[in-house]
Amino acid sequence: MDRVASVSTTDTRELDYVAKNVLWNRLISVCEEQANALMRAAFGAIVREAGDLSAGIFNADGEMLAQAVTGTPGHVNTMAASVNAMLNIVPSSTLSDGDVLVTNDPWLGAGHVFDFVVVTPVFVEHKIVAYLASTSHIVDVGGLGWSAEARSVYEEGVTIPVMHLRKRDVINEDLLGIVTANSRVPHEARGDILSLLSCNDTGAKRLDDLMQEYGLCDLCEISNFIFQRSIQGTRAALQLAPNGEYHSELLLDGYDSPITLRARMRIHDEHVEVDLSGSSPAINRGINCPLNYSAAYAAFGIRALLTPQVPNNQASLNAIRISAPPGLVVSAERPAPVSARHVIGQALPDLMFGCLEKALPDQVLAESAGALWTLSLSGTGENPFTSLNVVLGGMGARPTVDGLSTTAFPSGVGAVPVETAEVAAPLIYHSKEFITDSGGAGRFRGGLSQRLEVGSNCGQELNLAAAAFERLNEGPVGRQGGHRGSAGKVFLSNGTRIHDKGFHRIPAGETLVLQTPGGGGFDDPIHRDRSAVKRDLAYGLISEEAATHIYHLNDNNSEE
């Protein structure tokens, strides 16, 4: 990469306390800039709107120092582990200035072949002082495309083992050629991979400026400061949670038969251990989850609840240790299919909350809709297209406030606007509205879910990959006396119900109806503020029946 010498505004000196504070913020900001550049350059509405990406900065030992706030939890911890995993394969001693490494190996990267991780070493005076890493979702890398139908990872697309994407400033066109030859949208795939490379270069340049400004020749001192403060902050936060062992269990619909997720959590003074033993074994469809991705979401849940103010870095992540014996649905091994791994992965925060509720009964939100409902529609024939959107359900009620309606959680993405989706594909969305009574009843109500109706705008037959429609059997659980949110439901206008996660055909002229799950409620509905019940009734968020029989609106004894 280019090295631009600039005049240092300060002399080399030991960093004082304020300077370290500033430097820490600046490192986060470097990552943020990297992530924003990446988001703007991403192809595919779903990635652009969703922010299905992440960016981070690592020290010379491959330990993560800071990470962009923009991005989604699934890429967070996975990327933290990726850098060292990649350096184990291509040792740092063999890297030169201008080199860049890449992989999309699900077990080294972010859990499925769509996610590419790109790592760029930063050299100062011929020595590696840091690495910039970024990951994002590439629209298509061959195989079956987005579905859970593959029987092995080999059918899910082309896997790129860890290798050079650039060697001493020369881009590896051979590699790009392999990706483009395998992709249904070759030019976009190439553009997305180059964007990863380019955003790392931007970050590297910014880091270089920063080090010159502060007269730094390495990041050792700031690393120690960040890690030490993060350990301290984690310890302080964990003191609020009683030490002990806590268990929980969660039942998912699974592909065609139920899947159990089980966790045993041990809270210690300075770290939390989770063992996922006892969860169902991996299956032969692509909703299995590699352990790195399971760990990413499990850690997200624990950190969001216990240590939200501690920024993501090696030390704050080291405090959360997730393990599982190999071969489970949460720790699938190659060659298990893993395309729709988020179906399992995104259920893990709720599983963690289940353990944490036993430690902190009044402080844990109810279960949420969980996995993103990925709406993958395609058409063939004269008018071929593929369209990807997400359809969100309700978030669980929080201990002091209602759950958020139709909002992604734990994922950090958002939905593609209807107008944008209809510009991109010959579809017509007929409705997208809240479902009355879908939010679990409680003193604090679960977030409402939505009913979305969509079809072809030209009477075309459509194909649907139903891989991510989860929680069709039972809605998310409430806590502390709160009720369940509504279960999801998927059917066609001709009455056909969709129960499994396979491929489905939507005959010409028919429409698809999705009803996402609602969030669970918190605390007994009888304790809900009466004016809130009346408002919900007036707004049509709850029915007359629910107001009377569940919230006991007209029951004088319930007035507080």
Partner: protein
Amino acid sequence: MLRVAIDIGGTFTDVVAETEAGLSSIKILTSSKTPETAALAGMSTLLARMSAEWGDVDSLVHGTTLATNALIERKGAKTAIVTTAGFRDVLAMRNEKRFDQYELNIELPTPLIPRPLRFGIQERTLADGSIVARPDDTEIDNLCQQLSQQNVAAVAIGFLHSYRNNINEQYVASRMQDKLGDSVTICQSAEVAGEIREYERFSTVCANAYVRPLMTSYLSRMTSELAQQGFRGSFLMMLSDGSLTTLEQAKRFPVRLIEGGPAGGVALGAHVAKELASNKTLSLDIGGTTAKICFIQNGKPQTSRLFEVARSWRDVKGSGLPVKVPTVELVELGAGGGSIASVDSLGRLKTGPQSAGSVPGPACYNQGGTHATVTDAHLVTGGIAAEGFAEGMIELKKQRASDALKSEVQSALDFASVAEAAAGVIELANETMANAARVHGIELGLDVSSFDLLVSGGGGGIHATRIAEKLGISRIVVPAHAGVGSAVGFLRSPIAFETALSVIETIDAIDCTELNARLQAALIDVRKIVSQAVVQSSVSTSVVAEIRYKGQGLELRIPLLFSAGLQQALQTAQQQFIDQYRLMSGFTLPDVDIELVSLSIAATENSRDKKSAEHVSTSMSSNDQHKIYPTTDAEANLTAQLNADNVTREVFDQRAKSFQSSTVIPRTKLNGDTLQGPIVITETQTTTLVPKTWCVHQSQQGHLVLERQA
């Protein structure tokens, strides 16, 4: 020629009058219930002092935060939205995204229009503009009955894809207007913000409908009172994008007035930049609770077409209501004099974004505030003096500042002295502001270090040099009249109007005949609006294309040049896009289609700007013509004190970790001579610190210019 500008803010109303002899101004408290009362009283006082009559005023330019406050305080009209059946919850669903990943308790903005007043009717337009269902008269009429029964005062109409074809919106609007009568305000989404993305467009039309009755009635009262007083000049309103428009347009699109005040401040910055021949200027306004950043290039502020108003969660980006209208692109951050310093659970020192506001205010105000703030830190480090703060209106207690910093910062972090703790607080505030500028610059592809820094607001002059150092900037401007900067900026703004067309088609596949027809219609529209206020011959128009690789979100703005028709212009723009893309990312994507996302169409008057610039530079050449009325006793005392010779002040130097003696010089005593720091320059509303590595002189227009020495 007598021109008057009125800037009504939440707390203060500024009135500025300009004649060939220069500027006069008055600052008064805003009369919130009937804002015109204070404004007109102020104007009356000012005219009397200038011995001028209402009839002498040639033009009046006005900007107000009234619409903004109505949105923040939810004090607008009872408003309903009529939308495509099946989509009444778009306002509440937003983009279905959380704006903070790790905060589990975030709250989203409450929609302006509650669910019972959100109605769907059967109608549908597709993405290509074709109509698959026309609205039904009976359904419209029944809906009108319901709206009447509920005493709805305003109706927003927002249909899917109306940005592409708004026939259905027009039809429903016109029928509803007939049924409901003229007393009900009706706004159409395609007219207010004709761009793709239903949530942002619906949000904008609702905001417009919500504030329109209030703004219309306010502006009518204002004009009728002005007429009664004998005012016969032109009346123009300041828009968010830094241009002026007619009263009629302001009443139609009041949502475009929202950022008018800050846009005035930026307009002054742009004007000063031109005066000083600064082609690249970073404008930074540091107030009590927030700082605002805007990049100005070649005298033109950066603009955008989307911003947020009324943020619901700790002022976090993403938690407000989106408004899609042209606006100066201000980055607003929670850093100002009132920003609170704290130590978090990780033992990290933080400054802001929480603010002590003006009540209870910083600890040193001695009005019940106990938190250590940036102002407290400045008092302890000697950046500001306890005497004469805010024109003597607030008496500062240094001991309070010192105590707060000691208990909240110094003891928690083992700083050697309270002054070092205070300097740390200031350094972090500086860093927050510098970093926001750095990041925003990068987003825009600008090299911040090549810019001049133009500061305003109470804190501008105190923070300027350190921020400049952090950004590698070597020239700073502290303009004259910064205390009433927005109002002065109104007088420097051109009459203009901008609108946008969504296109979203591959450039090579565009039907240029059809697009040209849409473009010409829009050009006629904007030209007509501007022509109402200026002579037709002096109106010029411009078109900017937003272009991207199909499927990407990285849109570049390329001005279109029409020498040989639209098709040719688009081809040229396409090549420019490729060149710029290569510059930004280091590669291009030759196999990917290039897409025209939208066209922004603007009409601007082009004569007055030049004339007024000349006019101003002569009138402002003598800097003592800026009179601030009324002269208070406090100010008189202050002046006497500042005039005393050889005053010095001890100011803490963050790098040397010790206090250093600085000469105190009142701004009024400066002339064109270059002085070497360390100097403290004082004036009634702010202080400028000139450290020893900087020098300062006053330009002939009366602006302070600080330059860093190599």
